[in-house]
């Protein structure tokens, strides 16, 4: 079903590459990864960690929300002039008419992990541990709304690794049905022991830098990231910019932690995004892959892409730069797609040396300058939750 487009009029990002869109863009152009070997774990892997977060406190009035996840949210809100642009949007729309839709798979759950380490002799958790203001998903929304002075609609989506892609769809529906006039979408995910040891026990982490689409790929590197974007109806935004033109959402209905082997749900999500944008497969100039670098994920996504696009569209996974940022992967890669459109270049597959001969889509082997008008960003998660976003130039 065709949708009316939304324009991205402001955005900010922080990830293992550093703070701000310019830092991510430069790292992409210079092919410099943010991944580093993990320390202090019982197994070896590489991580996309954001440095110096511990020393980045929340506002004095919002200390009750203090946790690594909200500190990362604040770092992103304080980057790329995002706060200042939101102040202008508040003047334009009113603080009650800007929705906030955020994705996370972790929220501040690391606080609960730490609280369990500090139980007293009776087994009770520390008095000052505040589950509802740190771990509960609403913590991220409450903190973000209060930090920005917004009092409108919103919610937190947690659908594993598609979380902060699906926020674009939720924001679109809330704007379309008149519950808000504009919306902030975003995602924030931070490293937790649960996700590190959990992915390791599923044998899905790699002890080497992750290498999506490589014949030797053997798992993910977990990363942390935050990103935000302001979406306004394209008719009201005024400036030429990057627009959300389509989205697709589907379920695999296959397995909790393994994708459908033919990429059935992934293909449905991409086709829906094309239909929503009223575009054909050959209109697409680039696909930012979910491309986690597990053998089964990349194989399923490859089949899904081949079923719709054949090998006609250049594709890459940018997880070799940032790691797999789980609940923040959707927004991180949506904003990388925005950088692709603004700068008219396609990023390569960092760490890819020998493309898997069993995978057939057109995989990029180097950074490439070319005309780019429409791009797709894929995000697929546990529970078989799929989301594809289609962005274009206005």
């Amino acid at each position: 079903m065709p949708i009316s487009p939304l324009t991205i009029t402001a955005s900010s990002m922080v990830n293992a590459l550093g703070r701000g869109k310019k830092t991510t863009l430069e790292a992409l152009l210079q092919k410099q990864s943010g991944l580093k070997p993990a320390k202090n774990l019982d197994f070896s892997t590489w991580l996309g960690e954001v440095s110096d977060l511990e020393t980045y406190p929340l506002e004095k009035s919002l200390q009750q929300f203090s946790c690594r996840n909200n500190q990362l949210a604040k770092l992103a809100l304080d980057s790329d002039n995002f706060r200042e642009t939101i102040e202008q949007a508040k003047q334009k729309y009113g603080p009650d008419r800007i929705g906030v839709f955020l994705g996370s798979s972790t929220s501040g759950s690391a606080e609960t992990e730490m609280a369990y380490q500090k139980r007293d002799e009776k087994g009770d958790l520390p008095q000052n541990f505040d589950f509802m203001r740190t771990h509960n998903f609403t913590s991220l929304l409450d903190y973000t709304q209060q930090s920005l002075g917004l009092i409108g609609v919103g919610h937190v989506i947690s659908t594993a690794c598609s979380s902060s892609a699906k926020v674009f769809a939720a924001a679109h529906r809330h704007i379309e049905s008149g519950f808000c006039d504009a919306a902030i979408v975003g995602g924030v995910d931070t490293l937790t022991e649960t996700s590190l040891y959990g992915f390791n026990s599923l044998q899905l982490t790699s002890s080497e830098p992750c290498c999506p689409w490589d014949e030797k790929r053997n798992g993910i590197n977990i990363g942390e990231a935050a990103g935000f974007a302001l979406l306004e109806p394209s008719s009201k935004s005024g400036t030429a910019n990057v627009i959300l033109k389509g989205y697709g959402e589907s379920s695999d209905a296959y397995h909790m932690s393994t994708p459908h082997p033919e990429g059935r749900g992934a293909a449905t999500a991409m086709q829906q995004a094309l239909d929503a944008a009223v575009l054909q497969s050959d209109d697409i100039d680039y696909i930012n892959l979910h491309g986690t670098a597990t053998p089964s994920n990349d194989a399923a996504e490859d089949k899904a892409i081949m079923s719709i696009f054949g090998d006609n569209v250049p594709c890459s996974s940018t997880k070799g730069w940032t790691g797999h940022t789980l609940g923040a992967a959707g927004i991180t890669e949506a904003l990388i797609c925005m950088l692709v459109l603004e700068n008219q270049f396609l990023p390569t597959n960092l760490n890819l040396t020998t493309p898997d001969p069993g995978l057939n889509s057109q995989i990029l082997l180097d950074n490439t300058s070319r005309q780019v008008k429409y791009v797709i960003s894929n995000s697929f998660g546990f529970g078989g939750s799929n989301c594809s976003l289609l962005f274009g130039l206005q």
């Binding site: 998903f137 709304q145 609609v153 699906k166 529906r173 040891y197 390791n200």
Partner: protein, 259 residues
Amino acid sequence: MKPIYINAISIAAPSLMGIDQAKPILMGENQWQLSDFPKLAPQLLPANERRRTTSYIKMALQVADEANQNADSLPAVFASSCGDLFIIDHICNSMTQTPKFVSPTQFHNSVHNAPSGYWAIAAKSQAASTSISTGNSTFSSGLLEAFTQALAQQKDILYVAYDYPTTAPLNKKTNVSQAFATALILSQHKSENSYGCIKLSITHNQKEKSLCLNSSLNQLQQSNPIADSLPLLEALCLKKTSSLYLPYLNSLKLQVDVL
């Protein structure tokens, strides 16, 4: 704005197991009394999958299945304030042990969208499905999301909301002390068994949240964020035209006009 019909309701809570048992209480004919929440075995799930799930997941599937009697592959909205507290407790405990180990099944069950994933597998539904939370106002946020989805398309929407309590030490830190789940089918079209229709709006007026008409339910309403649905379920079962105010973000209320 078009009104949206509520064409099915299901419920699972102490002494409210299924809409047939719940109706006399929701319609004020009988008093509610606390009882133990039973062990559930939703038949929708194959036995081998059911063994891998928790009480929290089973409760969500039970109400989803009861509401969606036609077993349609509907787009779905799942909403839960706290997620699976049993799994959170178990994994955080295991992170204090040496060596640290997370069970693979518990890890994939730990994602907030685990009930949604199991439901899609069991119902063979490839339709879109989302899983959300906003803490104490989770029922309202989920209802609003389901409402916007129903407005945007001709298909019926399955809305499932649920929270399940845990034991010490985590129970004292959460807003859940009793099990409560409900599911609704939202539609642009009136069905034969429709309960009526609703319109939603956000109100900044300092309205108190709506309480149950049957005051014996007030204790249950305070025991689980999803139980703030009770005044709405009462109005729908009574087919009573009313304006209800459900807790929403910050000090806002979601105004639900039952028509």
